[in-house]
Structures are given as C-alpha cells and as structure tokens.
Symmetry: C2
Subunit: 338 residues, 2 copies
C-alpha cells in the first residue's frame, strides 16, 4: 500500500482501478480493507461507500468442509467450469490455520495452480484476524470489492471446523458442504449445526475404490437430509457425488447452483435473504465497533475481563455485571469529551 501519495489520490486511484477491474488495485484495496491501522479503516470505509452502487450483483457461494476434504481441488475444478461458461470468478479463502503474508497470494497460487493462471479468475486468501466477526468482516468487504470489480461469481471458502461457517452462511446466497466418503467419521471435529445450514452436500473424491463408499454415504446423507427441517426458502438440499480427478459431477454441481439461483430469484427468497443478511450485518458491525472501542480503552478492557471472570464463577449476576460495564463505558465517554 503506497502512502507516499496523498490518501485522497490513493483512494481515487483504488476506486477507479476497482471499477475498471484492475486485479492489482483490487488486491491492494482488499489489503486496505484488511488493515488494522485506524487511518486505513476510515479510508477503507470511504472506498466501500464509493463502490457500493456497483456491489450486490454477484452470485455468492460459500464452500466449507473438513480439512482434507479436497476443497481446493474441488474449487479449482468448479472454477474451471464456471470460467469456462464465460463468467468471471473471484475465490476468497478463509483459512485460520494458514500463515498468510499480508497481501500475498502465494499460498493459494500453490493450492489452485490452474485457476490462479486463469485470466477470468481472481484468487485471494483473506486474513483471518483472531476475533469472530473479524474473520467474516474482512471477507464480506473483500467480497463487495470483488463485485465492484465485475466478478459475477464469488466463492468464499472456509474450513468447516470453526466459528466462521455461520458467518459465511450469513454472507452468501448458496452454502455448500464438501465431504469425504467415510460414513460419518469425517464429521468428527466439525461444528454442530453445520449440516442443517447447507444448501447442498457434495461427496468428493468419488472415484476408484472410493466410489462405492461414496454412493453409500450419499444414500445415507440423503435420508438424513430428509429428516431435517426444510429450509425457509423451500429448497431441499441434495447430496451429490463428484470426482475432481475425473472431472465428474462438477458440471452437475454448477447446474444445481444455477438452478437454486433461478428458483430463489423467482420466488423472491434470494432478495429477501440478501436484505435480512444486510440488516444482521449492520447489527453485527455495530456490536463489533462497540467491542473494539471498549477494547481500545485499557481501563474498560480490564473491567470487562474482571466482570467476565466474576460472571463465570457466578460471583456476580449477569445483569448487574452488564449494567456495570455499560455504566463504566458511559462514564468514560462523558469524561473523554466530545
């Protein structure tokens, strides 16, 4: 990020670059959005506001799955189908376990070799800050920037073991769970509730000697889905097989996604879901801003920690603790002047 030039000029350059679809400037803009520096936060906000009118037009897809389920291979194969159909694709990955060099895409270059050479695709790991919401926060803003840069499909990839899945589910239109055939064992370590969030399950690596096991798993999961409550969209989550190795089942997954998009756009669910996602994101942002504010003030951060400990040990009622923290906060705001 060049700060040798005037911030306003830099902002104009980024805005113009994004709207033109410049990949280097898009990458820089995402780095700006991910920055933890206070001066960058305000710039990032302004940038997002400037490109807001160009956002919202992509079909947003979340893909999750346990480590080792073959997400990168699957996304590479799916991405090749998507770009092959003439659509520009952005892939954002959230991987809390990987060490990312800020702004570098080297990590993913090695993971999705073909796709990273594809002119129609933009691949970008998004930094995973420690805080919940923080992870999603940056990814959501990065997604908006990709949309403004003209990407028609955005895939958000996440590892299905942490807190990030619910956040990702809440920022995408279609949520896919990738599994390995292993009849349930691979669910160990996955977050409870994740299956019920998925719009489709794909059993990957359904080839060779895995093939029959994959078919068995498909039948069992299909039955399990049948006994889960239906989605508010009315959509029934199917279970598909795929083999990235033999390019099998990938086109079917893409057709399914397009079918979902058409169906929910026709029913009105698509837009309704987007609207409610925006409102809950607003609430999330507000809570996050507030929490960041509290944590930036040492005395308040200490008070919060102390109260949390007291509440944990049932030494104080939650209500009293909450009111006390709010009181301390108000006092601080008043004393800090306007």
């Amino acid at each position: 990020l060049k700060h040798s030039i005037h911030p306003q000029a830099h902002l104009d350059q980024l805005t113009e670059g994004i709207l033109r679809g410049d990949r280097v400037l898009l990458g820089q803009a995402i780095t700006l959005v991910e920055s933890k520096l206070e001066k960058d936060a305000l710039l990032a906000e302004t940038l997002l506001e400037k490109v807001l009118h160009k956002t919202g037009n992509a079909f947003r897809i979340g893909i999750t799955g346990a480590p080792g389920a073959g997400k990168s291979t699957f996304i590479e194969a799916l991405g090749t189908v998507i770009t092959g159909s003439g659509k520009k694709l952005a892939v954002l990955t959230i991987d809390p376990s990987s060490q990312l060099t800020k702004g570098s895409i080297l990590g993913d270059k090695t993971r999705m070799e073909q796709l990273s050479k594809n002119e129609m695709a933009f691949i970008r790991p998004t930094a995973s800050s420690g805080t919940l919401g923080g992870v999603a926060g940056k990814t959501r803003e990065a997604m908006l920037l990709c949309e403004a840069a003209g990407y028609e499909i955005v895939i958000v990839e996440t590892v299905g073991v942490g807190q990030s899945e619910v956040a990702v589910k809440d920022m995408v239109d279609f949520f896919l769970l990738l599994m390995l055939a292993g009849a349930g064992d691979e669910l160990q370590g996955m977050k409870k509730g994740i299956i019920e969030l998925t719009d489709a399950m794909v059993i990957a690596k359904a080839d060779g000697e895995n093939r029959s096991r994959a078919s068995e798993a498909q039948a069992v999961f299909q039955q399990a889905f049948h006994f889960l409550p239906p989605s508010p969209s009315g959509w029934k989550s199917p279970v598909l097989l795929s083999s990235a190795l033999h390019s099998e089942g990938i086109e079917e997954v893409w057709k399914l996604m397009l079918g979902y998009e058409t169906e929910t756009k026709t029913s009105g669910f698509f837009e309704q879901n987007r609207r409610s996602q925006r409102v809950s994101w607003f609430k999330e942002c507000f809570a996050q801003e507030l929490q960041q504010d509290i944590e930036s003030i040492p005395a308040l951060r200490a008070a919060q920690k102390d109260l949390e400990r007291a509440v944990m040990n049932a030494a104080i009622s939650t209500q009293v603790a909450a009111r006390k923290l709010l009181g301390d906060y108000f006092t601080y705001i008043r004393e800090s002047g306007s």
Copy 2:
C-alpha cells in the same frame, strides 16, 4: 405486586420468602422480574443479586417440540416421575402464542392438571416479551429464582418454532426434542438447526396404531443422528419412544437425563458448559441493556430504524451505518450529562 409497602421492605420479604420456598412469594418475585417498569428492574436486579448464592444447584432441562407434539402431557408424566422420586420440580413455560394474564397461572393449571396440584411442583408460564433475548432473559431469571427457592429440577418448555430454542439451549444442561411419529412431516415449520442442538429426541404418543410408525421414525432418526457431528460433551443423542397415556418410556427418559447429568459432571463438561453459558449470557445482557437504552431515546430509535432501512436497501454500507449509529449514541451520552 404490593407497592403500598416500602420497596426495601418488600424486597426483604421476597428474598426471605424465596429462600424459605414460599410459592406465592416466588410467584410474585417472578412477576417482578418480568415487569417492564424501570423501578421494578432495579428491584429485580437487587433481588437476584441477593439470592445469587443459592442459585445454580438445579438440573436444568429444556424441552421443545412442535405445537401438538404433546409437550404438556409429556411434561406432566415426566414431572410425576420426577416428583415421585422425591425431587422438587419447577416448570417454566414459554409460549409466544398464548395470551397470558400477567402473574396468572390459570393457563397452565388447565394444561397440566395433575402436576399443578402436586405440592412438589411449581408451574409457571413466563411472559413472552416480543424481543428475542427478552424471552430468554426473563425465563433465565425466573429459573434462578426457582433454584433459590429450592427446586432441584427446572424444566423450561418452549415451542420449537421460533427464535427461543437457541436461547433455551443456552440456559439449560440438557435439551430434549419431543416429536410425533409422522416420519418427518412434523419437522415442517420447525427451526433449522434444532435437531443438532438436542441431547435426546423422544417420539411421543408411541401407542396404539401409532406404535409401529413411532418405531420406524425412531430407527430413521437414530440413523440421522449418527450422521450429525458429535456433541462437544461427547454425548451421543439417543432417540426414545414414550407414551404418556400408558406411562411408557417416561421413567427411561428420566433415567437417561440422570445418566447425562452424572456423565457430564464426571467429565467436567457440566460445569464447563455452565461457565461458558454465564459468560455468553453476560454478553447477551450487555447487548440487551444497550439496545434498550437506544430504544428508550426517541431520536436514537428513529436513527436506528432509518439506518436499518438504508442498509436493507443497500443505500449505505453496513460499516458506515454502524459507525454513524455509534457516533449518534456517543453524542447523546455526552450531551445528556453524567
């Protein structure tokens, strides 16, 4: 609630009455906790603080299920087993659809006839305020009061169709889902994700011509559970059959619950879960206090509504909207003085 006497004297009377296990005063205390009057809120807080050292000792059970699943009948049968084993039982019901007269237990008297005459049982519908969290807020405080009054088992009953299940799951030790045999149809209208929250599923009314359908459903759900991620406690959720009509399966459910209590207390999960519940409740309370504060100030409430609408229509970015609301709030706090 008598306000003819001095608040402090009234508070002392309630505190002493609760700790003595006086049912009438316990009922009055719950009414106080549920009150929306500001002066009552502070009294309620003080009351809870006074009895805090006597709370936390009950085994807390959440029971949910679609309307018509026979929750009242099931709880009446289960409650008879529990009280028959010499344990004092409190039943708190949350029913957003029922019209409750504040402080009246008539509604439930008619629903659980036997149990309501039982000296070992205390039945109380808790008012469902419109706001999410509000529902749970009052129920959780009511639960604490029941514990202080010496109730060893607390059952929280909720209808499995709304937002309240997650809140209830987060305040109990054991969460049970009651179903009717109908091979999946009864899941219509239930909230997604609820099955993965349950520690046990009970298929009710498994008698007469329902019997074979219930057994079929049991087998299918057992298989479905097998393919859901395991609980962090390591507990595997079983599927049981029951017939309140023939008093069948009820003792088994109770034994299962006691088994869960023993197992999780031995493993340490029980207390660990309680501690994390208290912390998340603290955070919830803080967010709620703040939201109530914002809503109590007409200008801020209006600003929030306007921003929400703008965000919903993507006319403003969520980040800018959040920061604007926080800014307005700070300005108000500063101008309102200390």
